[in-house]
């Protein structure tokens, strides 16, 4: 045996003989494990991952700072190291032995916690268990080396206590080890990313929760390894065998050198925020992974079926079971129970026609037109209103894709976003008029983001292909010539046909904006999945509806925008006074919009708008006949247009449908299952059915009888997370 193996062997033996080591390594984390498990309701779902990683992190920190650091100081103060000083060895075997012992002590404890998480709290065994164990091992060794390094630069037990507390407490409280960092203020999150334990937490959670590999966590693992090397090297260099040997106070600055990988990583994170994002997403996953039982509730399935009294079990963000009648005991199901008698549960509503970049109101503040800010805010307003998915059909491409990632990843809370990106139209067609007054360069940039004006069928095909590559969810084309006083160039039907063919080939659902029945006829013959707006000018012949039904084309009448534009023309601010609008729209925007309506500019705009012939009765008539013809109906609002604010759009849309004579159940099916179908997502959303995302809207009363009840929102759930609606607008 050489000095390394002998020292390591005896060290391991000694620690297993030491009752305090057993206590702190095994019993202590166990106590925390059960406390946290109860605190975070680990038995009700995914919080167990959080509990497990918290306890592992506490164990690693304890082993490092107390098991290695304080202990090394103790051995020096007790004159034990002094005996080793006269032997022909360096400090290296002493440090090596401590690192190895820590690891051998901690890994069984980690495995024990893992097994408890699995067997008691039903956590799935980690797919990447080897990655997890290696990462945990790297963490354990890194923090031990930091502890030993501290022991090497302090002069007394008292000093070591001070230095260790100074480092230990921030690591404990600002790293996510005891409080998830995603709930902390922004500036704390920035500080957190200078703290090694933060990376330990996100690393473990990513491997456990996101099934990431060690390689995907190379950054934190690398930083931890580098710290280990630096700390061990300096720990050996500065090692002292006797308490009488003192070290200068300035040598404590070497600690900064040891933590330098994290100072660099923290600085990098302060700019990129990738780990902050990761931490938010991981925390969101945990919030979504809760077991909930909503019981004694009327269930509107989405496809027309209704369970008068039943229950829905949500697990892992999905609908796990739908009970017709009484459900088992929630305790047995390990679920939190929500009593919902007298209430109606629906699939989250879907708006298939919005323009997120437009505010829906008027404002003098440039920030109200800043898509990076307003689009996430708009998606939060939808979610607040129980609209859990929206489709943007004409928004600046780069920004809308960014927002889609931001929200759909779970980093930010908001309605799930689908988008077509820009809209296809003719040069000088509808959609281009918004930019024509901009300076040349700004106009070009804006058009490039928001419209596509192909000159030939080939160019059209190519543009569809490029959009497919960018990852859009569908294609939107405008086909209308406007009307007297507001004429547009209409798209060439050959180009339209090319777009339709290429969209089909690329499996991108195409929807076509139409202005009148001629547009509808051309759209149908080109081949489309959806008709947007239909016509509010003329009567769409029954034959066209029959064709729509035959081709399985969806009809989206967007009555809301008609009503609101009519209000604008009449100088009415009624659309702004609806309770859910008042709750979900930015107050400043509401104010500035009301002021605008009373201003000279508002009057001028009203005069221009009067040229439009907006015929709500014609639109309602077309809708009614579409329904009678058996056409698949879907709900869209065209929000973003003046006075159609992002928020409770579909509530108003279905109310208008019911006014038009459509039965509430039909309208609500259009807003859920049918809309999901148009998005091509009917296997995941739009239905309360086993295996579907738990996107749910709970309202008071029975909207099937009294449609107004769709506005009495009790609770909104997105992917299993019960949304704290009041906090939605506080997201940074």
């Amino acid at each position: 045996m050489n000095a390394y193996t002998a020292q390591a062997a005896i060290n391991v033996k000694l620690t297993f003989r030491d009752r305090t080591v057993i206590f702190f390594n095994y019993l202590f984390p166990l106590v925390f494990f059960f406390i946290f498990a109860q605190l975070y309701h680990a038995e009700q779902g995914g919080a167990i991952i959080q509990v497990l990683t918290m306890v592992l992190s506490i164990g690693i920190l304890g082993s490092g700072f107390f098991g290695a650091g304080i202990r090394a100081v103790q051995e020096r103060e007790a004159n034990i190291l002094r005996r080793f000083k006269v032997a022909p060895i360096s400090a290296a075997p002493m440090l090596f032995a401590s690192l190895l012992t820590g690891l051998l002590n901690f890994l069984p404890s980690a495995v024990m916690m893992l097994l408890l998480s699995h067997y008691i709290y039903g956590m799935a065994f980690p797919d990447r268990w080897l990655s997890l164990l290696i990462f945990v091992a790297i963490g354990a060794v890194a923090f031990r080396s930091i502890g030993l390094m501290i022991a090497s630069v302090v002069n007394s037990m008292q000093e070591s206590q001070i230095v260790i507390q100074l480092i230990y407490f921030p690591m404990l409280f600002l790293s996510g080890t005891t409080i998830p960092i995603s709930i902390m203020p922004n500036w704390v999150q920035i500080i957190a990313h200078f703290i090694p334990a933060t990376y330990l937490m996100t690393g473990m959670q990513s491997i456990l929760g996101h099934k990431e590999s060690l390689a995907q966590n190379a950054e934190p693992a690398g930083a931890l390894l580098l710290t280990t090397v630096l700390a061990t090297f300096l720990g050996v260099k500065l090692f002292r065998w006797e308490k009488e040997e003192k070290i200068s106070g300035a040598s404590k600055l070497w600690l900064l050198a040891v933590l330098s990988p994290f100072l660099l990583l923290g600085t990098y994170q302060a700019y990129t925020k990738t780990d902050v994002t990761k931490a938010r997403v991981l925390n969101r996953d945990i919030l979504r992974d809760r077991n909930v039982l909503i019981r004694n509730v009327r269930i509107f399935i989405g496809d027309g079926r209704v369970i008068e009294s039943g229950a829905v079990l949500v697990k892992g963000g999905k609908i796990a079971h739908v009970y017709d009648g009484a459900a088992p005991d929630p305790k047995e199901l390990k679920a939190e129970a929500i009593e919902a008698s007298g209430k109606t549960l629906l699939p989250g509503l879907i708006d298939v026609h919005v323009h997120l970049a437009a505010p829906g109101g008027f404002s003098d503040s440039a920030s109200d037109y800043e898509p990076g800010k307003t689009m996430p805010r708009a998606l939060a307003a939808y979610l607040y209103s129980g609209i859990t998915a929206v489709k943007s059909v004409g928004d600046p491409l780069d920004q809308i894709l960014k927002v889609r990632t931001l929200v759909n990843s779970g980093e930010r809370l908001g309605a799930e976003l689908f988008t077509t990106g820009p809209m296809f139209t003719a040069a000088g067609g509808h959609g281009t008029e918004y930019f024509k007054n901009l300076p040349e360069q700004a106009r070009k940039a804006a058009e490039d983001q928001t419209v596509r004006t192909p000159q030939t069928p080939d160019e059209a095909r190519q543009q569809v292909d490029v959009l497919k590559q960018r990852g859009v969810d569908g294609i939107k084309t405008i086909l209308e010539a406007g009307q007297a006083g507001m004429l547009f160039n209409r798209m060439d039907v050959n180009i339209l046909r090319a777009i339709a063919e290429e969209s089909r080939a690329q499996q991108l659902p195409l929807v076509i904006h139409t202005g009148d029945s001629r547009d509808v006829a051309d759209a149908l013959s080109a081949g489309t999945r959806g008709i947007e707006h239909g016509s509010a000018r003329d009567k769409i012949p029954d034959e066209l509806f029959a064709q729509m039904k035959a081709q399985g084309v969806a009809y989206d009448p967007t009555l809301t925008v008609l009503e609101n534009l009519t209000a604008l023309i009449n100088g009415s601010s009624d659309p702004l006074e609806r309770p859910l609008v008042l709750q979900s729209a930015p107050a400043a925007l509401l104010d500035s919009t009301k002021k605008f309506l009373q201003s000279d500019k508002g009057a001028k705009m009203r005069d221009q708008m009067k040229l439009y012939h907006l015929n709500m009765d014609a639109a309602k008539d077309n809708l009614r006949r579409a329904w009678q013809s058996g056409v698949m109906l879907v709900t869209g609002s065209d929000a973003g247009n003046p006075l159609t604010l992002h928020g409770p759009t579909i509530q108003r849309e279905v109310e208008l449908w019911v006014e038009a004579g459509i039965p509430p159940a039909v309208a609500l099916q259009a807003a859920t299952y049918n809309a999901a179908k148009l998005l091509g997502q009917e296997n995941r959303i739009g239905l309360i059915q086993e295996g579907h995302d738990a996107n749910l809207l709970l309202v008071d009363g029975n909207p099937l009888k009294e449609i107004k009840q769709i506005e009495s929102i009790q609770s909104v759930m997105l992917k299993g997370e019960r949304i704290s609606r009041s906090e939605l607008f506080e997201q940074e």
Binding site: A6, L14, R82, V86
Partner: protein
């Protein structure tokens, strides 16, 4: 072995800590098989000197050679070859005696039979005992055993009996005597006079970083103050009158009852014969006679004007 045959050779050794000079020019040599003592009060510079020789501290000036190596440079070679018993060291509470020996054996290039070592130090019975459960004497025996795991030619024993009970101290003395009989070279520091007198072939008396006297304990005693003390107890009072017939300028005094007599003599053996004869002639019964040689303590007081254990 050093060039001149000594195991330790020190010339003009100095060590300063800042402005404080702990060792101020010490020179001595230790021969193979010799037990050499450094005697002096706490803070005299003994431990500093020893630690320099063990390779634990750097000297400020002077020349040192230990087993042919320079302790300032060839630390590892020296550590590997010497045995050291430090004052006030500890081992982890839960280490067993035999484990401690095995652990330390692993650090050295040369080993001895640990079983025999335990036997020799009477630790065989305690070999499976935790260190924390041992008595003070047993712990010190373990410390000695650890100093011997590499079968060293040269041993440094720094205050080996400080803080131990008199009984245990005797025990340790016995062990050191055994080592001396086995012809190991030993450098021993102590502030116990008896220890130096009993165990050391030669002694250097150190005070304030300097050697003030060096030689065998007997030589030192005779060189510095050569008078022994003879105490005589008589059964009856000695009548006043003729003084005893001393030949070598001895001085004497009687107690108040004239039953006891104290004599200071440079040649106590001769004087005792004369005193006994004289008392016999006076027809007085001799109750007791006691010879007290001058101790190193006395020497130390004589040389420095202070006591060792102040």
């Amino acid at each position: 072995m050093n060039g001149n045959g000594s195991v330790i050779s020190v010339r003009g050794l100095r060590k300063s800590y800042g402005t404080f000079e702990a060792v101020r020019g010490i020179s001595f040599e230790v021969q193979p098989g010799e037990v050499f003592g450094l005697l002096g009060p706490n803070g005299a510079g003994k431990t500093t000197t020893v630690e320099i020789l063990e390779g634990l501290r750097q000297r400020s000036a002077g020349e040192t050679l230990v087993l042919g190596y320079d302790p300032g440079l060839e630390t590892r070679q020296i550590k590997d070859r010497i045995g050291v018993c430090l004052q006030a060291t500890n081992l982890p509470d839960k280490i067993k005696v035999h484990e401690a020996l095995e652990l330390f054996s692993a650090f050295y290039s040369r080993n001895t039979d640990n079983k025999k070592l335990l036997e020799r130090l009477q630790l065989t019975e305690k070999r499976n005992e935790y260190y924390s459960k041992l008595s003070g004497g047993q712990k010190q025996r373990v410390a000695l055993a650890l100093a011997l795991v590499n079968d060293p030619q040269l041993l440094f024993l720094d205050e080996p009996t400080t803080g131990l009970d008199p009984q245990v101290r005797l025990e340790i003395h016995g062990l050191i005597q055994e080592l001396r009989d086995a012809k190991r070279s030993i450098l021993l520091t102590t502030h116990y006079i008896e220890e130096a007198e009993r165990l050391c072939d030669r002694v250097a008396i150190i005070d304030e970083g300097q050697i003030i006297e060096i030689g065998s304990p007997r030589e030192i005693q005779q060189r510095t103050l050569g008078t022994s003390l003879i105490e005589i107890q008589c059964e009856q009072p000695v009548p006043a009158g003729d003084p005893p017939p001393f030949l070598n300028g001895e001085t004497h005094e009687f107690s108040a009852d004239r039953k006891s007599l104290t004599v200071h003599s440079a040649h106590p053996a001769r004087a005792i014969v004369d005193i006994v004869k004289w008392i016999d002639q006076l027809g007085i019964g001799l109750a007791d006679i006691h010879l007290k040689r001058p101790t190193l303590e006395d020497v130390f007081i004589q040389l420095t004007g202070k006591r060792l254990r102040e």
